[in-house]
Amino acid sequence: MSIRGKAYIVGAYEHPLRVAPHHSLAQLHAEVAKGALADAGLSKNDVDAYFSAGDAPGMGVISMADYMGLKLSWMDSTETGGSSYVTHVGHAAAAIATGKCHVALITLAGRPRAEGMQTGTGVRPYFLSAPETGFENVFGITVVGMYAMAARRHMHEYGTTSAQLAAIKVTAAAHAMHNPNAMVRKLLTVEDVLASPLVSDPLHLMDCCVISDGGGALVVVSEAVKKSLRREGVKILGHGEAPKHLMGGRVDLTYTGARFSGPRAFAEARVTPQDIDYASIYDSFTITVLETIEDLGFCPRGQGGPFVAEGNLRAPHGKLPWNTDGGGLCNNHPANRGGMTKVIEAVRQVRGEAHPAVQVKDCQLALAHGTGGSIGTRMGSATVILGKENA
């Protein structure tokens, strides 16, 4: 049993706002839902499955089903932080493959910027009253601090440098120049990144993603529904997911859960990393990208630094064109969760609708990967592989 080829993404929408002081959270979710359904050529009454995660207000799926007036036969509130929406794509395909639903809607939205959040200061509310809380929060953990410790250990074991990490931001900025909605629209150099203030060493301010409001939504449908639509479908070929954590104190911060989710997705899709034309890879921080590239098999373990510094991530001609919307590092990281926008840009690439300057020619196969939680403690990882209708 496999989801390979059983479901298609037919609608994708990214909210154009990056700061939304005059919206409610529910309103943002509904606006992105409306946008994705319009993109698909479907209406609200066609939706029979709804997926949302911890960013949805109130009782999540239930509150938003009430707000939007949805009638559903399938509900999924899987919460794995920023990777949730990549996971949801896999779960939607599985539910469709087993006939539980036919039109699945996935939404993400948030307004941390309107609420005044600042880089380096956040301890997320969902860390409270977790079993680990007493052993972590008391030491002044921050999101950046935990990723910084992963970066330092990777540097120690493999010789990775701050300049190599900076090259990732430089590439994201170059791509974001072509995205009118991107938050960072300025060409950056490695020197610019290294000259930005250290937030938690070795990570500088520019090693961090932006903080933005907004959101995004996807519509996943069965083959029968897809055939009734004018839009070309983006075929879901494979999916994998896994948690990765501290293993009872056997801590290794040099790799992510992508080491487990990636091979599952590739096996189901029956392709290899060398077959991938475009990759959206979660970029909460530069180190997130570097470790994930290794874990997904795009370069040998420990070689992520040289791989990114050689310009392999640059679109459209690099070996692995990556995050062509500017990613979370420069475009958008709505609700502090980047999984949704990763899938949306992968859909644009397969459809041939990315900006012409960064569109990969004849993009047959795309990968989207999400990391939720922290690579410095515990995370949910999810990988999906997407392709053209004939893939």
Partner: protein
């Protein structure tokens, strides 16, 4: 470069029935770990149920409180109580008994720290019935 080091805050940890003995021991200057009597593995943070074999036969024992730095960061921006304590050092320390734990390194010279450096536990009182286990260069 030496930077002035503010006194680290010592907030009261969130304590539950499963972890109360750990924090009480810290208040007495002892670092406790858990050992599984069925599979023999040690783990951290301490749990009633072994994360390796799910046995409920886990018992407390005292760590020697010595280890080495697995990784660390000098945190220059933080929130809450720690916002005024920057720069401070967040670290993972691998205890000589095996498990690696999240903690702070207490030092006046954070720039001189290195992965692999030897450290020993110190305790900072955090109110009634608890103290925070931190580490200082040995």
């Amino acid at each position: 470069m030496n930077e002035p080091v503010a006194t680290l805050p010592a907030p009261m940890p969130e304590i539950n029935p499963e972890t109360k003995p750990f924090w009480e021991a810290c208040a007495q200057g002892r670092l406790l770990l858990k050992r599984c009597e069925e599979c023999g593995e040690l783990h951290y943070y301490p749990r009633a149920i072994c994360p390796f074999c799910m046995s409920a036969a886990t018992t407390w024992f005292e760590s020697k409180g010595q280890g080495s730095i697995y990784t660390f960061t000098i945190t220059r921006r933080a929130g809450g109580d720690y916002a005024r304590a920057t720069p401070f050092v967040l670290a993972y320390v691998t205890l000589d008994e095996g498990p690696t734990m999240l903690t702070n390194i207490v030092t006046n010279n954070p720039e001189a720290l290195a992965i692999g450096q030897r450290v020993a536990v110190v305790f900072h009182a955090a109110g009634e019935g608890a103290a925070l286990p931190r580490f200082a260069p040995a």
